[in-house]
């Protein structure tokens, strides 16, 4: 039979339901892939092999007993380390939480377990989701499966790398300013940031409460929709969780595959998110995609969103402000590491300070200081207050745009995957990388990234971002599935089938930064 790990979750689901393959076999295949390639990729911070196989055996037993389970029962999944898991360490990529095993599961984790998915382990991320490259993980960076010398995006580089290196068919991510979509773009995978409030945040270690949203990381739009259906919906434990009844995202994705699904769809191109500042190959693939869409019957409309210009500035006030408060709880009193000051008295303030000094990395400290400053008396109105006003203006830009078009599109990121170290010395350059994805978080609207080809100049994946009005996640999936089919038809294959074959290596000593694949140039 075909290589199990290359199958989509939807295909695995079919085989599992008809019992032509067992969940134990599927799980073992993915654990084998992790063992073979993760030394190089470093997508995982924790792999729970035994627990995964035991859970898989239980699903197999239930199916054997004739129980009818959900479509994804028995399908493995990787969990971003920002999510609380009762049986695995949950560190959010930070030293300060090293080894911390929460006494509870995040709501999304609970839902994934209840749906019979098999948790393979926890994936790497920038510390507390602050970053666009995983270089800020306290546990070392994740490597892009397309080129080990390059970043896998961030903060959810681990989840994106896990699915694009076939270590897992599905993963969960969290997206505060692009942490699902940008890694998806640079690894050739699919990532969705749902409508704010569409998926519970309970148990997701908070970065910026008003921006964070948990979502699916997959290789196909349908897989993302299937996973969205599992994790979405109201959660009374999250006060910002919407009480709406949601349509099936999987049904929406399937509807997008119908003939003529793109006919008459009004597609808005945001003037402010195209043109200058985008890598040539990124811009080229975007233009080609618009041409394809047009040919398929979609109507391309240029849209101006003038306030988007201020999105990054507003974002880098709101996020640090909320983060500075959210991260105050890391004080060594109730959980996490405790570090005593080297000399002087052991007061609670001094132990807190020493712990935070030793436990937080440089980017976290930078943002806590920024946020503390932005919230300080005398500065609040000028910084946090103004940023909130910009947020309102951006929401109005979206409202105006969506009164004219059904969806908005842009490249998911200005460039393809950059090299390690390229932007570490320049926080502003790192922050600007999120220019395309941040507006959706500020407005709370859903966004998706799916692969739209490889940049000719470097052979690396380029992502298309699609945005829909708030609560119209289903539209994202039907349009996304249609675009995905259109692009793949034009290529004659999936993008990830052109990903380099990763060297299968057993554990080896030393850091794995060398290029460990055989080919990179796929003429897509």
């Amino acid at each position: 039979m075909t290589n199990v790990i290359k199958l989509s979750a939807a295909d695995l689901s079919g085989l599992l339901v008809e019992r032509s393959i067992s969940s134990v076999e599927v799980t073992q295949a993915h654990l084998d892939q992790i063992a073979a390639v993760d030394t190089g990729v470093h997508a995982f911070l924790h792999v729970a092999g035994e627990a995964a196989l035991a859970a898989a055996a239980r699903v197999d037993a239930r199916r054997a007993a004739g129980e009818v389970l959900g479509p994804l029962a028995g399908v493995p999944i990787a969990i971003k380390d920002v999510l609380a898991t009762i049986d695995m360490p949950s560190t959010a990529g930070s030293k300060i939480l090293e080894g911390w095993i929460p006494p509870y599961d995040a709501t999304v984790v609970r839902r994934v377990r209840d749906a019979g998915l098999i948790l393979l382990g926890k994936t790497n991320m920038d510390e507390f989701a602050m970053g666009s490259s995983t270089e800020f993980s306290a546990y070392g960076p994740t490597h892009n499966p397309w080129d080990y010398d390059r970043i896998p995006g961030g903060s959810g580089g681990g989840s994106a790398a896990a699915v694009s290196s076939f270590e897992a068919p599905l993963a969960l991510g969290s997206d505060t300013g692009g942490s699902i979509r940008q890694p998806a773009a640079v690894t050739g995978s699919v990532g969705v940031k749902p409508t704010y409030g569409g998926v519970s945040r309970y148990g997701s270690i908070a970065l910026a409460s008003s921006l964070d949203q948990v979502g699916p990381v997959t290789r196909t739009v349908l897989d993302a929709a299937l996973l969205h259906d599992v994790i979405g919906g109201h959660d009374p434990l999250d006060s910002t969780s919407l009480t709406d009844t949601w349509p099936s995202m999987a049904a929406a994705a399937r509807a997008g595959l119908a003939d003529g699904a793109l006919t008459g769809v009004r597609v808005g191109v945001i003037k402010e998110l195209s043109g200058d500042g985008f890598q040539a190959g990124v811009a080229q693939r975007f233009t080609e995609t618009l041409t394809l869409l047009s040919a398929a019957g979609a109507e391309i409309v240029e849209i101006s969103a003038p306030s988007f210009e201020y999105a990054i500035a507003a974002y880098y006030l709101i996020l640090p402000a909320e983060a500075s408060s959210n991260l105050a709880r890391f004080d060594s009193v109730r959980f996490g590491i405790r570090v005593n000051p080297e000399d002087g008295p052991l007061t609670s303030e001094r132990v807190m300070a020493a712990t935070r000094d030793a436990g937080f990395g440089p980017e976290v400290k930078r943002r806590i200081i920024l946020g503390t400053y932005a919230l300080s008396a005398g500065y609040y109105d000028a910084y946090y207050g103004s940023a909130q006003k910009v947020r309102t203006l951006i929401q109005r830009d979206f409202d105006a745009a969506f009164s004219k078009v059904d969806v908005l599109v842009s490249p998911s990121a200005p460039t393809t995957a950059f090299k390690f170290g390229e932007k570490m010395a320049d926080p502003m350059a790192m922050y600007l990388n999120d220019v395309t994805t941040i507006p959706a978080n500020l407005a709370g609207v859903p966004g998706m990234s799916l692969p739209m080809g490889l940049a000719p100049e470097d052979g690396l994946p380029v992502g298309l971002q699609i945005m829909a009005p708030a609560k119209m996640d289903a539209r994202l999936y039907s349009f996304g599935a249609a675009v995905e089919a259109l692009l793949e038809a034009s290529w004659g294959h999936t993008l990830l089938s052109r990903a380099p074959e990763l060297a299968r290596r057993e554990m080896f000593a030393g850091t794995a930064t060398s290029t460990a694949f055989t080919s990179t140039e796929g003429a897509v």
Binding site: L83, A84, S90, A92, L97, W100, P102, P103, Y104, A106, R201, Y202, G203, S204, I205, A206, A208, S209, S210, P236, L237, D238, S239, T240, A321, E322, S324, S325, A328, R329, F330, D331, V333, R334, F335, S348, E349, M352, T372, L375, S376, A377, Y380, Y384
Partner: protein, 501 residues
């Protein structure tokens, strides 16, 4: 702790005008905490009523307790406040180990209730209207216990323990405007104001209102303004003054302390102060400046609270009679003298006396039993009178006395039996086989016979010559063949003769 230099109170008032302000924290008696489903209970094992949310664990999120919102609105209405159409929670950021999240979820510029008024009546009959700036909702902190060191305070302690059971318990903080013109009554205003708040929250049923358990806590702000000046003095904030009497004492102490300091050319430090119940003094806490920066911002994990006007009106309709009005009405209905009524109120027995009267007892009898024997027994065992016995039982007891089944002395024994869990007064009478009652019956027959036989003695007794009773007592003792308690016989003789001793 040294007692500071104090100025004579009258002299202090001569030189300075006291300006007051109070922050009263009321712990609501909701079943669960403000932002999570943990039980809101006092006295459980340390850290047993906790969850990821109230422990501030990574990933924990708050959910608003709807009952707490309702209680806060009712309290706001009872304080004559306007209820906000749109109200938000805000984070008050500061690091302290008893605050699990290292921020308190409170309200800042958008409180649930604001612009209220409360008129209180002092013992002199003077009415003082206290303006309420706001009543806002917030969560309580955990409880720190400092171990080691002599003072039980953090200074000098070897280590500290934290119990987060109280962390996240719903609070309403009621903040007054500045109270000027209190003059010499200032300490009494403090006590009476807090007593009035306590009465209101009790009447509303939104708090257990036990100051000794910290259900109602008062921070008292005091500053002095030199006579003839219109510039406010620097204030101190005496924290957690946890009895009505202490509020009065603490305000008085601060007036005298600040006056002495100012008069000697010193300056007041803007600071929090600790109240020491045992020594009756305050001591310096931490400096507190108006520039303390809590970096307030709207709580992004909670949606705004926007109570509909219909709901607010529904809640307004559920408000009980204001305690002050109720007191006036009850005193008139019962016909109590001022002192009698004050006794009931000050002993916190208004509710039980009312219930006892409602159960059929005469007003004076109900008052007498509660403020007398029940209060004495409660005092002896260190509990509150209303926790000792049900009003219905007291009413039943009084009924037995009125019916002549029990004398006061016997009734006291029966009361002890009732309190001891032996049953209703009637059951106690039976189970204790109160033979005394039947003995009394026999005695009374003998006494009535002896009195009838000596009408001249009866007349003398009725004229107040109680020593004449000796002749009757002798006759009765003889008739009973000495098997009677002479003292009891004497009591009954006088009772049957209708003499007052």
């Amino acid at each position: 702790m040294k007692k500071a230099e104090l100025m004579d109170y009258d002299k202090a008032l001569e030189l300075f005008e006291p300006v007051l302000g109070f922050e009263v924290h009321v712990e609501l008696n909701t079943k669960t905490k403000m932002f999570c489903g943990c039980a809101n209970e006092f006295g459980q094992g340390a850290n047993t009523n906790t969850c990821p949310t109230c422990l501030g664990l990574p990933g924990g999120l708050p959910q608003v307790n709807a009952k707490a919102i309702e209680s806060s609105i009712r309290l706001g209405l009872a304080l004559g406040c306007e209820i906000a159409e749109y109200s938000r929670f805000a984070r008050k950021n500061y690091f302290y180990p008893d605050t699990a999240k290292n921020f308190q979820t409170s309200q800042y510029d958008e409180p649930i209730a604001f612009n209220g008024q409360l008129t209180i009546e002092l013992e002199s009959g003077r009415l003082v209207t206290v303006d309420i700036e706001r009543a806002h909702m917030e969560d309580d902190a955990g409880k720190l216990t400092h171990v080691g060191g002599a003072t039980g305070r953090i200074q000098g302690a070897d280590y500290s323990l934290v119990d987060y059971n109280r962390g996240g318990v719903p609070l309403v903080e009621i903040v007054t405007q500045m109270i000027e013109g209190g003059e010499a009554d200032s300490p009494e205003i403090g006590r009476t104001y807090v007593a009035a708040i306590r009465e209101i929250v009790k009447a509303l049923g939104v708090s257990n209102a036990r100051m000794e358990e910290g259900n109602v806590r008062c921070d008292a702000n005091v500053s002095l303004r030199p006579r003839g000046s219109n510039v406010l003095g620097t204030r101190t904030e005496t924290k957690n003054v946890n009895s009505l009497r202490s509020v009065e004492r603490a305000v008085r102490y601060e007036i005298q302390r600040q006056a002495a300091l100012l008069h000697a050319g010193g300056t007041i430090t803007q600071e929090t102060r600790h109240w020491h119940e045992d020594t009756g003094i305050t001591s310096a806490g931490r400096p507190k400046s108006d520039a303390d920066d809590y970096r307030y911002f709207p709580e992004p994990d909670l949606v705004p609270v926007a109570p509909s006007r219909e709901w607010v009106e529904e809640l307004r309709a559920t408000l009980p009679e204001p305690p002050a009005a109720r007191r006036k009405r009850l005193q008139a209905e019962w016909g109590f003298a001022n002192l009698e009524f004050q006794d009931v109120v000050n002993s916190d027995l208004l509710d039980v006396v009312e219930a006892t009267i409602a159960a059929g007892a005469a007003a004076q009898a109900a008052r007498k039993w509660w403020t007398g024997e029940v209060a004495r027994l409660a005092n002896a065992s260190g509990v509150s009178a209303d926790s000792l016995v049900q009003p219905a039982q007291v009413a039943a007891l009084i009924e037995l006395v009125v019916a002549g089944t029990l004398t006061d002395r016997l009734a006291r024994q029966v009361l002890e039996g009732v309190i001891g869990g032996e049953g209703t007064p009637l059951e106690v009478v039976e189970s204790r086989g109160l033979a005394v009652v039947s003995d009394d019956g026999a005695l009374i027959a003998a006494i009535d016979e002896a009195l009838a036989a000596q009408p001249d003695v009866l007349a003398k007794i009725r004229d107040g010559k109680v020593q004449a009773a000796g002749a009757v007592i002798g006759a009765v003792m003889k008739a009973m063949r000495g098997q009677a308690d002479a003292a009891r016989v004497r009591e009954l003789v006088l009772e049957r003769a209708g003499a007052a001793e």
